[in-house]
């Protein structure tokens, strides 16, 4: 068997719909853990509301948030996968079909930046990036619908031979600037080094990492822990109305570069929309989250 257009179309549509209705399990666990540790009553109650909202969306098969965001997909093609599909147009067809059929219907969030007109389609929509997985016999697709609430606060800056103190201070300042705005507690993704474009891609991909996963590089793992404690010490708390839990995780990746070092920071709000699945060459689909 071969992976076909229809398989990609169906899966990209399903991934989006799942992302709108289900808060990932690791995220619910992290919210529940935070609720146990919070010293603020308002924060505990707010975390409780979050868990209730997540549960009711699942039980009622409805959306957690009204802002369904814009479609963002990461496609990773196994180099040993057997496929014959126009992946880009299949994903676009999947989103078009989703818009026509999904219940409840989506609000119009796709915005033309030249006119601020809103619709369900636009230039370069859905936003898709492609990568390869060596030796894999499947295509993996991640869907991460991105909305204004947290999308707005991502930031990047370029430094020249920065020290770790400079890098971490910048990341802390980005967290201060986002403050109460991005529906905390958030997942923070950081990309250090590489080039302008590559650093932001790393930051975005790090927001998609499992909460609680430990970076295999001990120096980076320490940085993640340090930043996690630092950002939570700011005190913004759930929904930015005060508390000990502003981030659920800080995930860092880095790449070698020249002496100019970009540092990029991205956020996922507490509902942490992300879904991931693989289509194997024999046609079966494995939903990972």
């Amino acid at each position: 068997m071969t992976i076909k257009d229809a398989d990609i179309q169906k899966l990209s549509e399903d991934l989006y719909s799942w992302a709108l209705r289900k808060v990932p399990e690791d995220t619910k666990r992290a919210l529940a853990n935070a609720r146990e540790k919070e010293s603020s009553e308002t924060a505990r109650r707010t975390l409780n509301m979050m868990l209730t909202s997540a549960q009711r969306a699942e039980d009622g098969d409805t959306f957690v948030c009204s802002d369904s965001g814009v479609p963002v997909y990461f496609v990773r093609i196994g180099t040993k996968a057997d496929w014959n599909a126009n992946i880009k147009s299949a994903i676009r067809a999947g989103f078009d079909h989703l818009v026509e059929t999904i219940q409840p219907p989506l609000l119009k969030h796709v915005t033309n930046p030249m006119t601020n007109e809103r619709s369900y389609a636009g230039r370069h929509m859905p936003i898709i990036t492609y990568d390869l997985i060596e030796d894999a016999d499947y295509i993996e697709i991640v869907c991460s619908p991105k909305a204004l609430g947290s999308g707005r606060w991502a930031a990047m800056e370029l430094f020249t031979f920065p020290t770790l103190e400079t890098i971490e201070t910048y990341i802390l300042d980005v967290a201060i600037k986002a403050g109460a705005q991005h529906c905390p507690p958030v997942v923070m993704g950081v990309g250090i080094g590489g080039t302008f474009d590559f650093s932001t891609k790393m930051a975005k991909e790090q927001t998609l990492r499992e909460i609680g996963s430990v970076n295999p590089d001990p120096q980076v793992a320490e940085m993640e822990k340090r930043l996690f404690e630092a950002v939570n010490a700011l005190g913004y708390g759930p929904m930015g109305t005060g508390g000990d839990t502003t981030v659920l995780g800080v995930h860092v990746d880095f790449a070698a570069g020249h002496g100019f070092t970009p540092v990029a920071v991205a956020f996922n709000c507490w509902i942490n929309r992300r879904t991931r699945a693989r289509i194997y060459s024999d046609g079966h689909v494995e939903r990972l989250e």
Binding site: N48, M50, A57, C65, P104, E165, G235
Partner: protein, 205 residues
């Protein structure tokens, strides 16, 4: 879920002035909602031109809520609603708050000091909604009274509805000019250098 005091709308100035930062309440009664920047602009234009807006906002509870509305038998229905970021409207809200003497405003993310000042003048509060709370907020809708400016996309429309036990909502700016957002920003700024120092010490080990 925990239980919270329920306040009947319209809210009196006395009740608004009795609310304290961090209080969590629910609301029952009429509210008005929109999530649109063009809607706010239109409200401002109507104020400037001395025109009556189609949904009265005087001393109202006016919230930054995006909703999916559509035609249904016997009027409009709202399928779901959820807050949007209020700070986007910072530059527009002081005039709207003062003109209509808004008693409650709300959404998520808060409003700035100039808005808190306007709220203090008119005896109004800012209430923080749970973002990602569509299942909770939507179930509070009892009746859609009116959907105005249907030439706009759904979440930009101005909607008047009756709600029951909407919330819980957190009092984040009180009627006396105090703001959780300002307080938390200030304390984060005050803690910043100390946090950086602690990071440096941890790194050095």
């Amino acid at each position: 879920m925990d239980t919270f005091p329920n306040i009947q709308l319209p809210m009196s100035r006395e009740t608004a002035e009795s609310l304290k930062l961090g209080d969590m309440i629910t609301l029952t009664g009429p509210i008005k909602a929109t999530a649109g920047m063009p809607t706010h602009q239109r409200i401002l234009d109507f104020i400037d031109e001395g025109k009556q807006i189609p949904i009265d906002l005087v001393e109202a509870a006016f919230f930054h809520l995006g909703s999916y509305s559509r035609d249904a038998e016997g009027g409009m229905e709202v399928l779901y609603m959820n807050p949007t970021t209020s700070t986007r409207f910072n530059h527009m809200m002081p005039k709207i708050i003062r003109h209509f003497r808004l008693r409650c405003v709300g959404g998520k993310g808060g409003l700035n000091t100039a808005c808190a000042e306007a709220l203090k003048e008119v005896g109004g509060v800012y209430l923080s909604f749970l973002g990602g709370g569509a299942p909770l907020h939507s179930k509070a809708i009892q009746k859609i009274e009116q959907v105005a400016w249907t030439d706009l996309v759904s979440h930009y429309r101005l909607v008047a509805m009756d709600v029951a036990e909407l919330g819980p909502l957190t009092v984040a700016i009180d009627a006396h000019g105090n703001s959780l957002y300002d307080n938390l920003d200030r304390s984060a700024q005050e803690r910043r250098d100390q946090i950086i120092e602690k990071m440096n010490q941890t790194r050095a080990r």
